[in-house]
């Protein structure tokens, strides 16, 4: 039925990740790439983009259960992320239900940093049949 969850992904965030994500999305908030601006705003470094690690969390989940089957995603952020942080992406099936005549599973996926603090939690819903 549902294949076993793939191994966790780990990734160390770089400034290049931030620039690539901001260019792709069109979100040019300077706090994520303009180091003097970020420092002036009270951060120790450019602030990671929440939607970057949320997106990677979704990529981990769609590699498992299929991008065409996604019907809903929801993300919440906690700890801020900075370049140099090593993030771990993993998850598991949290819930199953019937909707629109099909069977759905909700994967609860979590992105944690090297101190085991939660940076982002995602709920990714897949239509199985």
């Amino acid at each position: 039925m549902i294949p076993p969850a793939p191994p966790a992904w780990t990734h160390t965030v770089t400034r290049t990740d931030i620039v690539r994500y901001q260019g792709a999305s069109g979100d040019f908030q300077p706090i994520h790439h303009d180091e003097p601006f970020a420092l002036q705003s009270g951060w120790p470094a450019p602030l990671g983009v929440g939607m970057f690690h949320a997106g990677v969390l979704a990529s981990w989940a769609t590699d498992w259960l299929g991008a065409e089957r996604v019907r809903r995603v929801r993300f919440r952020w906690k700890a801020p992320v900075f370049p140099g942080d090593t993030l771990t992406f993993q998850g598991q099936v949290d819930e199953r239900h019937e909707q629109d005549g099909g069977s759905r599973v909700v994967v609860r996926a979590v992105c944690t940093n090297q101190r085991d603090e939660v940076a982002c939690t995602g709920w990714i819903t897949f239509q199985l049949d």
Partner: protein
């Protein structure tokens, strides 16, 4: 300081063309090499691809009503983001007609004072007007 009168504000409608190159670029940016996003003429968009609405809004004045809520950028945080798909996620080649509105503003007492939450919903419809997807952005302004 959030302007509570911004509740109900609607942005100018804008178009989001789901393009093959942008799908691949975005997928790479979220570290996906899944062929579903990179192969063929009509790859499916990644789950958070509609974040690229920010790219399309830049060409349409007043398309983003978030600009009207007066959230203090130094105190504002992206609290939650949701995408709902009514059927499979969009594919390259689809034209989506989008419009955003300030859907909800509410307050909650926090430890350091009042938190003000704002929810913006963007609807994405196909050329027949069928609702294909919604983006639901929740931001919070801290005291």
């Amino acid at each position: 300081m959030i302007d509570k009168d911004s509740l109900g504000n609607e942005g100018t409608p804008f178009i989001l063309d789901v393009e093959r190159g942008k799908v691949a670029e975005f997928a790479r940016a979220v570290r996906s090499e899944d062929p579903a996003h990179h192969a063929g003429e009509q790859p499916v968009a990644p789950p958070t691809f509609l974040a690229t609405q920010m790219h399309w809004e830049q060409g349409v004045p007043d398309s983003n009503p978030w600009d009207t809520i007066q959230m203090d950028p130094a105190k504002g945080v992206h609290a939650e983001q949701e995408y709902v798909f009514h059927g499979p996620p969009p594919r390259a080649g689809e034209r989506l007609h989008a419009q955003s509105r300030i859907a909800e503003i509410w307050e909650k007492e926090g430890r350091a004072g009042m938190l003000v939450f704002v929810k913006m919903i963007t609807e994405f419809r196909d050329s027949e007007g069928t609702l294909r997807a919604e983006a639901i952005l929740t931001g919070v302004e801290r005291p």
